[in-house]
Amino acid sequence: MMSDLTKLKISEARDALRKGDVTSVELTEACLDAIAGAKALNAFVHDTPEIAREMAKAADARIKAGDAPSLCGIPLGIKDLFCTKGVASQAASNILGGFKPEYESTVTTQMFNDGAVMLGKLNMDEFAMGSSNETSAYGNAVNPWRRGNDDAALTPGGSSGGSAAAVAADLCLGATGTDTGGSIRQPAAFTGITGIKPTYGRCSRWGIIAFASSLDQAGPMTKDVRDAAIMLQSMCGHDPKDSTSADLVVPDFEAMLTGDIRGKTIGIPKEYHMDGMPEEIEALWAEGRKMLQDAGAKIVDISLPHTKYALPAYYVIAPAEASSNLARYDGVRYGHRAKLGQGDGITEMYEKTRAEGFGPEVQRRIMIGTYVLSAGFYDAYYNRARKVRTLIKKDFEDVFAAGVDAILTPATPSAAFGLGEMKDADPVKMYLNDVFTVTVNLAGLPGIAIPTGLDKQGLPLGLQLIGRPWEEGDLLNTAYALEQSAGFVSKPAKWW
């Protein structure tokens, strides 16, 4: 048996499984041990060891029979936002307390059909609303990384913070995430892993608990770019059950990873130089630029003039959709229902149920969303935000039309911050975490975050590459080239 099985990348584990050097059961047991020993990280919130062992056995049989897709036998963690049949799926919310769906999301169905093994459900911000994991009803996940010798607990980012922490701490080989405004890329950057949000419509949203339907996309969170390619391959593809899912052929992403980006044009958008951005981030970005240049890409300075309006537009559109999407949690059919007093009617049932079931951040966004859609404010907020969204999309179309293949930006405006640090801050300060990532969701483009360095305190920092729509293969290859140059191999020191 190989040592440190949980440290394997998906590609390595796949090759070892196929060669018979390891079994899925062994890999799975190693991960289950790691999970059991990492309660301090609070990454996994529903463990499913029995299901994992069953799936691992089945995968081993498939591998033995010579029928083994890339994900066959690979133990993964699943974000709590995905509906998994018979397994608690709560979007980290009390309002879905005890909810076990009778159905399996399309994305997880596809991965399980390919033989992937589910270890359990991963922590996240409630309904994917948050950038620090602190809105989770389960309590936040904790970043396995720490600042130097300081043992202050840091955020793994959000909303896919549980996924990021689990992958970074080697509790699983990869994890699913979802990204509405940066929820894959920001936690990936905070934990030194890779995360890609594919083009809107690439992954089916069927069976993923909705936050903001026009922005939500699932994507993989992995230890490197190759693993992201392997996992995305299984997750994406057309689904007739999702009207916004694209009926397009999915190329072989892994086969596109040549590392050759000679002749590619990379744009550096001037609007992403933010006031007050840490020098280290600026330096990291400049380094990334140089690495891509050295790899043979042509670097051009570009302008995406409407960037500064993206964050406000996002924080109108996303809450607007959320206020409607979350209306179904009313205590009538499933999930939490408040205890009612004598004489309470339907209105009291709604009010009490939703006041008890939703946390403060979710309530805030429902109220914002309700407000911006209400009569008299619709044009000033929602409609204006939609217009801004169109302009942002056009900004990207223009630079792509001018020959840019990918755009390089920082992934986040800072490294991981301390848990509780933003407790009393204006919520808008928390929203600023998404400043580099929301444009990608508003424009529906693919974006990938990859770790490229450490800050002075030893925390990982990431860069983001933004690609043309439907060209995840090309984007992954550019990311692969950057990954090769950056040579990021650091791991958090185990303290948990």
Binding site: C83, A210, S243, Y382
Partner: protein, 504 residues
């Protein structure tokens, strides 16, 4: 296409204490799309199933569920639009209408506010022969129905049945072109007739498959014409909307009541508040449901789960090509081709099955008026007596045509024909064979009639003298001849021969 020409009916005028008032009415009709499956889920639409048995995960708004448009429902709505001579919008879009209610699991209804599937059309509403109102259709949009809340089954709890949740509805919105309670009922009847011809809605009002929100306002004579000229609503009074009506009789009563209520308010120096009202048939009155201030803010916005609906002109053309003949065209054709009165044509085209039956009769019998009389008076009357549907008629079109042919050929008398019809109705069989076998045929052999006439003249010399003085008494001889021939003699031939023999 054939067209009949119409005059416009006079609007209903109600005399108030101070002035005369006219009514202005617009309707929003919710018609359930005739389809096997719901609008956005695969669940069945079958009526009368066990509560909550026709409910998919989508209908129950389980987390992560997404709507997928049922193409057949869209086809039905397009067919309806074409049937109402309306514009079909090749691009339309779905919006969410947000409100909380336990029978609305999603917390929003998916509807079409900003970009409806069907644009402007029209309905010719027949009032009486030669008189009809043209009502403009503003739009038709497609939306989901809600479920059913049941509040009277338990003293402490309410129940919800989601079987109807997500069933496709067409909301057919008229302009305020309806001018009285009778016109309102006639509008619903005509719309229902067209929908049934098209097969896009079964029109069953009792089951709630066709229900209307009725907007009523009043205006002084002359104001409506100003509105029509300018399309400026300020010429009209403030409207009230009477919700959820599913009886033609109650629609008329509610409008009448509501108009009189508004007249009383305005003549008393008050102002009509724009509001939603409910009609109470027990008390025959409308009551305020919610005022404009209490009106829901539905926070409509484009449904992000559905891309804009794009359809192709060629697809619309295919649907148009497969459209059945509609009531107006059929009626005009019946008038023109079969020489029917507009009244008869109206009756015969009311239901497409009746019209089809009639057409089979008339093509075989080759006599429009006679066929119409027999279908409307004898057949419909007899079926009604038995509470029987035309589709279950014991007399087939061929049998009825057979009877009519015997009448036309003077083979049987009209009176005998009725007896023959009853025999065919109750016993079945070939009419001509029955007439032959049972000796029902008329004697048209003039020789035989002459003999009979001669015998009666010879036996009644006194009567002959009287008849010569007073030709009206010739009828007595005709009666005697008929009696002598057992009613089988052709009355016209008897008349002629009697007159000739008496030298009248």
């Amino acid at each position: 296409m054939l067209d009949l020409t119409y005059d416009t009916p006079k609007p209903k005028v109600i005399a108030g204490a101070k002035h005369d008032w006219e009514l202005v009415i617009g309707m929003e009709v919710h018609a359930q799309v005739a389809s096997q499956a719901k609008l956005f889920s695969g669940a069945s639409t079958k009526f009368g199933a066990e509560p909550n048995s026709n409910v998919s995960f989508v209908d129950a708004a389980m987390p992560g569920m997404l709507p997928v448009i049922n193409e057949y429902c869209i086809e039905q709505a397009v067919r309806t639009g074409l049937g109402l001579k309306a514009e079909i919008n090749l691009t339309s879009a779905f919006d969410r209408k947000n409100y909380f209610y336990p029978d609305l699991p999603q917390g929003y209804q998916i509807s079409q506010l900003y970009h409806p599937l069907v644009g402007e059309g029209e309905i010719i509403v027949d009032m009486e022969p030669g008189i009809a109102r043209k009502v403009r259709i503003e739009r038709i949009h497609v939306e989901q129905d809600a479920g059913k809340s049941i509040h009277d089954m338990d003293p402490h709890m309410s129940f919800v049945d989601l079987n109807r949740t997500g069933v496709a509805l067409m909301e057919i919105v008229s302009r305020p072109d309806i001018r009285g309670p009778e016109e309102a009922a006639a509008y619903i009847a005509k719309l229902r007739q067209i929908l049934r011809y098209l097969g896009t809605c079964d029109g069953n009002m009792q089951n709630g498959n066709l229900r209307a929100d009725v907007n009523v306002s009043i205006c002084r004579p002359g104001q409506y014409e100003k509105y029509m000229e300018t399309q400026d609503f300020s010429h009209l009074g403030t409207r009230c909307e009477i919700k959820n009506m599913n009886s033609m009789r109650f629609i008329q009563m509610a409008i009448e009541y509501e108009a009189r209520r508004q007249i009383q308010i305005v003549e008393g120096g008050g102002k009509v508040d724009q509001e939603t009202r409910l009609y109470d048939p027990d008390k025959n009155e409308t009551r305020s449901m919610r005022s404009k201030e209490e009106a829901h803010d539905y926070r409509y916005f484009p449904c992000p789960d559905l891309l804009p609906l794009e359809i192709e002109q060629a697809w619309v053309d295919d649907i148009a090509a497969s459209l059945p003949e509609l009531p107006d065209e059929k009626k005009a054709r019946f008038v023109k081709d079969f020489g029917l009165s507009e009244y008869d044509a109206n009756v015969l085209t009311a239901e497409v099955v009746n019209a089809a039956y009639f057409e089979q009769v008339v093509t075989q019998a080759d006599d429009g008026k006679l066929s119409a009389n027999w279908v409307i008076n004898e057949l419909f009357g007899r079926l009604k007596k038995d509470d029987c549907d035309i589709t279950d008629s014991p007399v087939s079109p061929a049998q009825l045509a057979g009877i009519i042919k015997l009448i036309k050929a003077d083979t049987i008398s009209g009176k005998m024909a009725k007896d023959l019809f009853e025999i065919v109705y109750t016993e079945g069989g070939n009419p001509e064979e029955i007439a032959e076998a049972r000796g029902m045929k008329q004697v048209t052999d003039t020789g035989a009639i002459e003999t009979a006439v001669d015998e009666i003249i010879a036996a009644n010399p006194a009567q002959v003298e009287k008849a010569k003085q007073n030709p009206k008494l010739a009828g007595w001889f005709v009666g005697q001849v008929m009696k002598a021939t057992g009613g089988k003699a052709n009355p016209k031939a008897v008349n002629d021969i009697v007159a000739a023999k008496l030298g009248l």
